[in-house]
């Protein structure tokens, strides 16, 4: 008798927070996990680059990727609990106990998705500042304050987060386009394509009240991270190529 209202509440959360259609449950977590691994690899590259050259911009770039990776991790953990922990309550018969579980998962979802938003926005902001070659200034504090506020309000209006992410991504794309105009490197072109697709995925998420568009957004995000992976492979292979062509020790 008491189970029904609880189940309804969970279903409501799935719709409001994640918008995932039932058949896509779990698959989006795999996409997030893949994104997390790619972001972690980019962080490792940037950190190794910093260790070698002591260029602080490499470090800031790495921190940016690491923050976005933490954002992905928060969403993975939260979604895992959201998708797979609902059956636990079916064994609980007491209404009062069930109520407490709902309250604790409420807090977990809110904290999890809040951290996802905060880390993602902070990470993208760091990437933007490095790409645009912005010098450290007091304005960073103002930026951080706005991102914190947006992360909090993002819980009430889901599109605020995606809109903000989209705007920062557009700024990042513009900054990298300026870099591409100077260096004309294929790698930078690949990087721009990856960011454009990421921006496209967030513009799709703006309309993710339609479950099919949520799926489309996730697939575009997956393609974007596959392109990031191909960029990592190109960078890694180019270093190897030098080794093989010039020397055979």
């Amino acid at each position: 008798m008491f189970h029904k209202p609880f189940k309804l509440k969970i279903a409501l959360y799935k719709m409001k927070i994640v918008f995932t259609p039932d058949w896509f449950l779990g698959k989006d977590v795999l996409i997030d996990a893949f994104s997390f691994l790619i972001l972690l690899t980019l962080f490792i590259f940037a950190y190794k680059s910093y260790k070698l050259s002591k260029n602080k911009n490499s470090l800031y770039l790495g921190i940016g990727f690491l923050l976005i990776a933490f954002g992905e991790l928060s969403t993975i953990l939260t979604k895992l609990v959201l998708y797979y922990d609902t059956t636990f309550t079916q064994t609980v018969g007491q209404m009062i106990v069930t109520y407490h579980i709902v309250r604790s998962t409420d807090i977990l979802f809110n904290i999890g998705f809040f951290l996802h938003k905060l880390f993602t926005l902070l990470g993208l902001y760091a990437l933007y500042r490095v790409a645009a070659k912005e010098r450290p200034s007091k304005e960073i504090l103002l930026g951080l304050y706005f991102l914190l506020a947006l992360s909090i309000f993002g819980s009430m209006f889901y599109y605020v987060f995606h809109l903000t992410t989209l705007i920062i991504l557009i700024l990042i794309i513009c900054a990298y386009y300026n870099i591409y105009k100077k260096n004309k490197l294929l790698n930078t072109k690949i990087l721009i394509i990856a960011f454009v697709l990421l921006a496209l995925s967030h513009s799709t998420f703006l309309f993710s009240r339609l479950p099919s568009l949520y799926v489309v957004g996730q697939i575009i995000q997956l393609i974007s991270y596959v392109i990031f992976l191909s960029l990592i492979i190109v960078i890694w292979k180019n270093g190897k190529k030098k080794k093989q062509n010039k020397h055979n020790i």
């Binding site: 590259f45 940037a46 190794k48 680059s49 070698l52 050259s53 260029n55 911009n57 490499s58 770039l61 490095v130 790409a131 070659k133 990298y176 870099i179 100077k182 260096n183 490197l185 790698n187 930078t188 990087l191 960029l231 960078i235 890694w236 180019n238 270093g239 190897k240 030098k242 080794k243 010039k246 020397h247 055979n248 020790i249």
Partner: protein, 77 residues
């Protein structure tokens, strides 16, 4: 210096290295001792002539350095 040694199939005469890397004698002595200390290059005797060769560690370092430079160029940093 590592790039110059690698261009010459991994082994080079010290004087050639100095000219090819565009270094003064003092600069070369300083940099070479640093490279030897870190195990990236080593001296060896080739029919009574002193030569310098890159080690496996040196080749790996150069490869990683190439990757990191490629990474930095990609991101314009």
């Amino acid at each position: 210096m590592l790039a110059v040694i690698l261009e010459k199939s991994g082994r080079i005469k010290p004087t050639h290295l100095m000219y090819k890397a565009n270094l003064s004698h003092n600069q070369m002595k300083l940099y070479l001792s640093e490279l030897i200390k870190n195990g990236l290059v080593e001296n060896f005797d080739n029919s009574g002539k002193r030569m310098i060769r890159i080690t496996k560690k040196g080749v790996d370092f150069y490869s990683k350095y190439g990757q990191m430079r490629e990474f930095e160029k990609t991101f314009g940093i």
